[in-house]
């Protein structure tokens, strides 16, 4: 069986990480995140001073987001191997992953809208900026479900040569729980649970990136294992 397409999909995950970092982090400069306590004029100034970089960065970010689709698909193929005839968790992963792409595509479009006419009313720029940040950081739910179903599927793996080692199940559920604090940002403008805070932003952000780094080699291994010629029964 050829697993070349799967390997391509898995590498798309790396592409996502790299391009996303370049566009969102290094070009547009959204890291460190701007404070939700900034005044409308400060926010508007950020868009006026960095207009070109934000526009360019958001094109790249928007493109990178879709690369997470093949990545999720590659994981889904492996979950399908575990689940066989009744792949409910696999489908849940695919749907959640598809929504995840939307969650990653919409904020760059809103940020770029703010940078589209940077000389408009600062209050309106702040509105767009708030919307993009809230959408981006607070929407943990599809990723929560994504990690949860991976965990549940790996727990259900009863084969002699499991697709993923069992600790991957625990790891994914741990990651799922860590994404939850992002949901609290709507209540705070400052402190660790604001959208630029240690526990609502940095921790889920680091964990989400770390999840790719941990899952990538495991996914490659699982794909290679699937590609091995089946032993004669």
């Amino acid at each position: 069986m050829s697993t070349r397409a799967q390997l391509f999909c898995a590498w798309c995950g790396v592409g996502f990480l790299v391009l996303f970092s370049i566009g969102w982090w290094f070009i547009a400069g959204y890291i460190p995140p701007m404070s939700p306590a900034m005044s409308a004029h400060e926010v508007a100034a950020f868009y006026q001073e960095n207009t070109g970089l934000i526009r360019l960065g958001m094109v790249i970010t928007m493109f990178s987001a879709a690369l997470s689709a093949p990545w999720v698909a590659a994981i889904a193929v492996q979950l399908k191997r575990i689940e066989g005839e009744s792949p409910a968790l696999t489908y849940a992963l695919l749907v959640a992953g598809a929504v995840g792409v939307v969650v990653l595509v919409v904020p760059p479009m809103v940020w770029t809208t703010a940078a589209f006419r940077p000389d408009r009313d600062p209050e309106l720029i702040m509105l767009l900026n708030d919307f993009a940040w809230l959408f981006f950081v607070m929407t943990f739910s599809p990723f929560f479900i994504q990690n949860l179903v991976i965990g549940l599927a790996v727990f259900g793996d009863k084969s002699d040569v499991p697709v993923f080692p069992r600790w991957v199940a625990y790891f994914n559920i741990w990651v799922a729980i860590l994404l939850i604090p992002g949901g609290l940002i709507t209540f705070f403008k400052t402190g660790p649970f604001a959208w630029d805070g240690l526990l609502a932003f940095w921790l889920p952000f680091a964990v989400f990136f770390g999840w790719f780094v941990v899952m990538f080699p495991l996914l490659l291994k699982a794909i290679r294992q699937q590609g091995l010629p089946a032993e004669p029964a």
Partner: protein
């Protein structure tokens, strides 16, 4: 990793449960450690505000809940011991007692939340109550997951009592691995509360 021989063949050293559960437990402990640091640091910046808020907290609820979780953990430890013996008899009852204690914790916590919310104290009332609600809320989520785990362990224990004859050694090892994993998780829930109790309720 999954073929890890967690054994009732209790050698001198033995990882309780499966290796994976320790990824979760240590990961969770690391994160809660970070939570504790953040709380104590920000508290130090504005001690008076924190003390004023803390004074409206009822310490008896916190202490009672500590006792509930400790008792629950002990029952679970007893159940695990009983599962290890050749003839399992009491483990299901111990698990039921553990669940009742967990339920006691949940009831006290809900009463406490209700009392605070009806008094108009919410997540945004003060920084202290922000941490109070978020940390105890996340811990409460762990308790709810733990109650599910205890139900699972209770079912395992019941089938261990009902079955005739002993399991083959490999199957018994696998069963003990699951039991120990669930038990270790529940003890961690206890452990985190043991730290939250003085930090939120007692420390001046």
């Amino acid at each position: 990793m999954s073929t890890h021989s967690a054994g009732l063949v209790s050698a001198k050293t033995h990882v309780p449960g499966e290796v994976g559960i320790w990824v979760f437990i240590l990961g969770d402990m690391a994160i809660f450690g970070l939570f504790f640091f953040v709380f104590v640091y920000y508290r130090g910046l504005n001690i008076d505000v924190y003390l004023q808020s803390q004074a409206t907290l009822n310490q008896n609820y916190g202490a009672l809940n500590t006792l509930f979780l400790l008792a629950s953990s002990w029952f679970v430890a007893m159940a695990v011991e009983d599962m290890r013996s050749k003839v399992t008899r009491l483990a299901p009852r111990f698990f039921v007692l553990a669940m009742l204690c967990g339920l006691g914790f949940a009831v006290v916590k809900i009463i406490e939340y209700r009392e605070k919310i009806t008094a108009g104290i919410t997540l945004t009332s003060s920084d202290f109550y922000m941490y109070y609600y978020i940390f105890t809320g996340l811990h409460f989520l762990h308790v709810l997951i733990g109650m599910g785990v205890l139900v699972f362990l209770w079912l395992k224990a019941k089938s261990a009592v009902q079955r005739k004859g002993e399991l083959p050694i490999a199957d018994k090892a696998k069963e003990m691995m699951l039991i120990e994993s669930g038990a270790s998780y529940w003890h961690m829930v206890d452990l985190l509360w043991i730290v939250l109790f003085p930090l939120l309720y007692l420390m001046k």
